[in-house]
């Protein structure tokens, strides 16, 4: 164990060979999806990778999950070079790095029960939990806010938010150190999204996880990331601490990206919070309890 970053990518490049436009013989054309990208994921922290379609963020996610090989560059996990890890080293990497995908339904086999889905990674790694499979699954389900009594149900019997919790539980089964969330909350409704974001934040604190959080929604990334990398056309155009990037962007592309995000007039938000506070104060005056000043800040999970 070293005290350095949990994951470091250095000079990672991914070129895809596509069919060329040659005349008699098609030939090959190269397309650089990820171009000399370097970043670090701080231990216990969250790196947010943001970008629009075609920015290379999803390819980056697949490279650091070791689902595809980079053309050039190195990948270090927990201080060790895993760029071309095989055998035991790769098994260990797969145990420590898990991925939560965008569409919960298509990433869960519809014919398997939740219990089987959640405990499947244990089988792949040939691990038997000391407390038994059933208890193990029940603990995890509770941990992600699912009712353990539903362990024998199938994915289609769950809502989108619940299905994503199953995906998270499965990712946590092997007690990973790093979880890669590839647009993990993008398909969810706002209300459900908020609760899944809260869950991810809680789990990070409780289990000492690190995240790579990849998303196109900048407002969501702002809620969860500690550091940010902005990608554009395969390159990282700006990176830094969350508040630096969001509040003091240096790069022109980052600036235009942030400017394009639709916002609710802060003045309207202020007036709404005042109204809510006044309402709460009126109510509390009746029940003689102190008012809670900032409605949206506060105490852990609901």
């Amino acid at each position: 164990m070293s005290a350095g970053p949990i994951l470091a990518a250095r000079g990672v490049t991914k070129e895809f060979v596509t069919r060329g436009t040659g005349k008699v013989v098609a030939g090959k054309a190269r397309f650089t999806a990820v171009d000399d990208v370097s970043f670090e994921v701080p231990r216990g922290g969250t790196l947010g990778i943001v970008g629009e379609s075609g920015s290379g963020k999803s390819t980056t996610a697949r490279i650091i999950a070791k689902l595809i090989e980079p053309t050039r560059g190195t990948l270090e996990f927990d201080g060790e070079d895993v760029t071309s890890a095989t055998g035991r080293a790769l098994t260990s990497f797969r145990q420590n790095v898990q991925v939560v995908f965008q569409d919960p339904y298509s990433s869960l086999n519809p014919k398997h029960t939740v219990e089987r889905l959640i405990s499947a990674p244990l089988d792949y790694q040939r691990i038997t939990p000391p407390q038994g499979r059933r208890a193990f699954v029940a603990e995890l389900m509770e941990r992600v806010g699912l009712n353990p009594d539903h362990a024998q149900r199938y994915p289609s019997q769950f809502s989108g938010g619940q299905a994503q919790r199953i995906g998270i539980a499965r990712a946590l089964a092997l007690r990973p150190k790093l979880v890669i969330c590839d647009e993990a909350v993008s398909a969810l409704d706002v209300s459900v999204q908020a609760r899944v974001i809260n869950l991810l934040n809680e789990l990070k604190a409780d289990l000492g996880l690190s995240y790579v959080f990849i998303a196109h929604d900048l407002a969501v990334v702002r809620q969860i990331a500690d550091t940010i990398a902005v990608m554009h056309r395969g390159r990282i155009v700006e990176s830094g601490s969350r508040d630096d990037v969001f509040e003091r962007p240096q790069d022109d592309y980052t600036k235009s990206l942030l400017a394009a995000v639709p916002r609710i007039d802060p003045e309207w938000d202020r007036r709404r919070l005042e109204m809510l506070a006044a309402e709460a104060a009126a109510e509390n005056a009746e029940s003689t309890e102190p008012a809670e000043p900032r409605a949206r800040v506060g105490g852990g999970a609901a």
Partner: protein
């Protein structure tokens, strides 16, 4: 576009080369000695050697193969001196059974197979596309169920069974048709038509069954596309929506299928021709296989390969005209 075609032709030639090489190799190593077969029952070793050298069977594999291939393009001569037999290009050799030129045999039989294929294709396109459209548009109704039941029958019943059943019903029971006998179109068009009607129906039934199911699926799929909703939201009338927006996306994939099926059928409908006693390429193939008449089998196989390669090429070219997304990529 021209370069695209050139590329396809080169690929087609490569495929044909491989087909011919493999077929030739199979006969060279796996089949009994043709010389013995030709020589017949009263045979001497000298006679066998003579046949071998005349046919070039004593040469090594590659040399034999080379002679065969060059025969196709420039013709070849068997034997030497006065007893030499010349075989003009495209030469596929001579039948071991009848000593006829294989090229001539195939050329004689082609009109029958082409007639069978064209007639059946017209029928199955009409029935398959029409039935598929009807059952898709009337999805869930009696029409739909009737067409799909028919299609199920067409797919599950074997060709030869349908042929025999049809013969029994139309010829024996109802006596609507005389027992088919070959007739020339110019001399007796009615008899000609009667001779081909049943093969057409039998072949078309099987293909139409498959096509109607595919067309139905395609149309239903297309009807659910977002662009159909857009077309209706524009206020187009229903028939224009169907004709312009639904038909082309639904039928374009059928073109691929049709090209392949039709090309395959031109090379002879083995079972149907045999059942109905039609002297087409299919029957020729069936006969030559039972008699192990190697030059004929080779010739028929190469013809089938050539037709499929050409069919494929025509389909690909047609596709670039039909689907703009393909067109731009290949341009």
């Amino acid at each position: 576009m021209l370069f695209y075609l050139l590329r396809r032709v080169l690929a087609g030639i490569l495929v044909l080369f491989l087909i011919s090489l493999f077929t030739f190799a199979i006969f060279f190593w796996l089949s009994p000695d043709p010389a013995v077969q030709i020589c017949g029952k009263t045979c001497t070793p000298e006679r066998i050697d003579q046949i071998r050298s005349q046919l070039g069977l004593d040469l090594p594999f590659l040399q034999q193969y080379w002679q065969f291939v060059s025969g196709i393009f420039v013709g070849r001569t068997y034997g030497e001196g006065a007893g030499a037999i010349t075989c003009a290009a495209p030469c596929l050799g001579f039948s071991f059974q009848t000593n006829q030129s294989v090229t001539d045999m195939i050329a004689d039989r082609m009109p029958v197979s082409v007639t069978v294929a064209v007639g059946a294709a017209v029928l199955w396109l009409l029935a398959g596309v029409g039935g598929g459209l009807l059952s898709a548009v009337k999805q869930g109704t009696g029409w739909d169920r009737t067409v799909m039941f028919g299609a199920l029958a067409g797919i599950s019943l074997p060709n030869y069974f349908v042929a025999l059943l049809l013969q029994y019903v139309l010829v024996v029971q109802l006596q609507w048709l005389p027992f088919p006998h070959a007739a020339s179109f110019t001399e007796d068009p009615v008899a000609w038509f009667q001779a081909y009607l049943m093969p057409w129906l039998v072949l078309a039934f099987g293909y139409a069954a498959m096509y109607s199911r595919i067309v139905r699926t395609n149309v239903i799929d297309t009807l659910g596309q977002n662009f159909m909703r857009t077309a209706r939201a524009k206020g187009l009338d229903q028939s224009l929506v169907m004709r312009r927006h639904a038909l082309r996306p639904s039928l374009t994939p059928v073109v691929t299928l049709f090209g392949m099926d039709f090309a395959g059928l031109l090379g002879g409908a083995l079972i149907t021709e045999t059942v109905f006693g039609l002297n087409g390429v299919g029957k020729l193939a069936a006969d030559s296989i039972t008699k192990n008449d190697q030059p004929v089998i080779m010739g028929v196989t190469l013809l089938a390969g050539l037709l499929v390669v050409i069919g494929n090429m025509v389909v690909d070219v047609a596709y670039t005209g039909l689907d703009p997304r393909v067109r731009v990529r290949s341009a």
